[in-house]
Amino acid sequence: MNRAPSLTQLQSTVEPTAESPSSDASSGTASGASAAEARSLLATAWLRIRRSKIALLSLCIVVAIMLFAILGPILSAMSGNDPFTSNTSPDVLDDLQTPGLPLPGYMYPSAAHWLGVEPGLGRDLFSRLAYGGQVSLTIALLSTAVSVVLGTVIGAAAGYFGGKTDAIISRIMDLFLAFPHLLLVLSLTPILQSRLRNTALGQGSFLPMASLVIILGFFGWAYLARIVRGQVLSLREREFVEAARSFGASHLSVLFRQIIPNVMGVVLVYATMLIPTNISAEAALSFLGVGVKDPTPSWGQMLNAAQSGNWYLSDPWFLAVPGVMLIVTVLAFNLLGDAVRDALDPKASRH
């Protein structure tokens, strides 16, 4: 954090001179500058993370989980199964004592089914976990991206322009923070889905994913915006902003080239913390039956399947598979978030 502002201060004294000859040249330096900025931020974070064993471990787990999700279809093909084919034959599922319960050979990990099969439909659990991870993480990452873009731009605009703009935006942020998120998201998701149904976004299994990304993204920006606004309030008084303005840079260009690059540290911290929140939110909504629905798998949907029909009571393994995966993922992201925060924003504390 210490190094970042001085770097951009340097850039900002250089940039306006580059801006005058041609607009092409200036956009070239701007993208080059922001790349350097991003690298220095991540490099700073990496330097600190490397020193802590817990941070390193959580980073490794996060990377492993991402790889697991990305390679999901390949891994599941390697295991010789897919997440949608059901197998209810009596050699797989019990049909005497507890109809639908996998027989012992199929309930737990085996060579044919790496994590056993689902009760009821007999689908391969490993494939569902892998495909589900893809769905869960895609929703969490995309909705985080939506919130981060909205929060950064809106918060920076409020802090930079001040006055009436700030007053109005701040009131809107208060409103967004006052709404009980889960309840609102829960009740608006079916509504949004019925709206999206006839558009390009609303096709097939894409519909619940798109609506979750939109809703979680749209209701998650306010907290970040408030933090960014606070940072920008002090940033805008700094000399390099004045310098850029006096060279004739427009407000928009100052906002996007001088102000926002300087708050990227804080943005990165809150983005890392928003990801586990959104993973939990997806799990919660799908668990409640308004998010991802069967046959599309997601970790929340798998929890929902474990609860429906009380399968988790006769087959606790069916609850443990998505449950442990969720806990490990959220915990790893949370610990990584803590580490990134300690590295980039030592003053901020959670809550």
Binding site: R171, D174, L175, A178, F179, P180, L182, L183, L184, L186, S187, L188, T189, P190, I191, L192, S194, R195, R197, P276, S280, A283, A284, F287, L288, G289, V290, G300, L303, A306, Q307, Y312, L313, P316, L319, G323, L326, I327, V330, L331, N334, L335, D338, S349, R350, H351
Partner: protein, 333 residues
């Protein structure tokens, strides 16, 4: 102080009106057609038209909003001309599914939500503040490290997983506790307070695990900060007993952020613990809202969302006022 209270109350009312307006807009303009949701199965175009009139949707949007708000303070007639029925104040409309007054549905669900909130609150405040304080007092020790690690794990436990796990172990396997029943919704009921505690114990634990983790962190950070301040050193130097220094001087000064958090969380929880109520089948506000959201029962979801937002906002203002009463510096800002 009075001006401060007036100013906060003024902005409270503005915020409440804004929240009600936004919720109303989102729900009324949101769905493809509330009328077809209201008319249910076997819908003909004529019945949809009837439903539109019955819902007052033939009126301009602002009139609809105004009518809705008027219903909060005075009784009004709802329904198609000729088939109107009286809706007593506070009128929040009628359920599409059962045609029941939404206010009655809310009144029926509220005791369950209150039962959940009160016990969970007590449980997580005791464990959260207690463990946070213990960690702060033994900063750097193994106890501290263990508590901090436990808090990190606790905050990462999704409620569906903890809730189902608790049910599996304590109800299904060990038979230590009964499965939650709808018959008990207050400690003063026919079966007495002990049955109430047993009935809600697992939901309380599920909520407390998640919430106390945050309280541990905040309490620990604030107490460590407070214990390093000059007035604590002075109190120690005076020769006060360590216990007096810790509780009379330290906790008193360091606990205010926890009070703020507590106020906000009470507000949040009064709107219904959506997931926990769902897992333990407790028919509180959150449970009712989920059912209504899935079946497209708009008046019910809308009213509960509004109510929950009201609780959060009011809690916010109460916390601000309490803070101002405790700490005179706040008023000057």
């Amino acid at each position: 102080m009075i001006r401060f209270i007036l100013r906060r109350t003024g902005s409270l009312i503005l915020l409440l009106v804004a929240v009600s307006f936004i919720t109303f807009t989102l729900f009324q303009l949101g769905p493809a057609d509330p009328a077809s949701a209201a008319c249910g199965q076997e819908c003909t175009p004529e019945r949809i038209a009837e439903a539109r009139v019955a819902l007052g949707m033939d009126h301009p949007f602002f009139i609809q909003y105004f009518d809705y708000m008027r219903g909060l303070v005075s009784p009004r007639m709802i329904g198609a001309p000729g088939a109107e029925s009286l809706c007593q104040w506070p009128c929040l409309g009628k359920s599409f599914q059962t045609n029941e007054n939404v206010s009655d549905i809310i009144a029926r669900s509220l005791p369950y939500t209150l039962s959940m909130a009160i016990g969970a609150l007590v449980l997580w405040t005791i464990t959260g503040v207690g463990l946070g304080l213990l960690a702060a007092l033994r900063k750097g020790s193994a106890t501290d490290k263990f508590i901090v690690a436990a808090a990190s794990v606790g905050v990462s436990l999704p409620i569906p997983v903890t809730g189902l796990f608790l049910l599996l172990v304590f109800v299904n396997q060990l038979h230590l506790l009964p499965f939650t029943t709808n018959e008990i919704n207050s400690p003063f009921g026919a079966q007495g307070p002990w049955a109430w505690v047993l009935n809600y114990f697992l939901p309380w634990v599920a909520l407390a695990v998640l919430f106390s983790a945050a309280y541990i962190r905040v309490t620990r950070t604030n107490m460590i900060e407070t214990f390093s301040e000059d007035f604590i050193r002075t109190a120690r130097a005076k020769g006060l007993a360590p216990r007096t220094v810790t509780f009379k001087h330290g906790v008193r000064a360091g606990i205010t952020p926890v009070v703020t958090m507590l106020g906000m969380d009470i507000g949040l929880l009064l709107g219904g613990a959506v997931l926990t109520e769902q897992i333990f089948s407790v028919p509180g506000l959150g449970f009712t809202a989920v059912r209504a959201a899935i079946s497209g029962d708009l008046p019910v979801t809308m009213a509960i969302t509004m109510l929950a937002a009201f609780f959060v906002i009011v809690a916010n203002v109460v916390v601000d006022l309490a803070y101002a009463a405790i700490d005179p510096r706040v008023r000057l800002q």
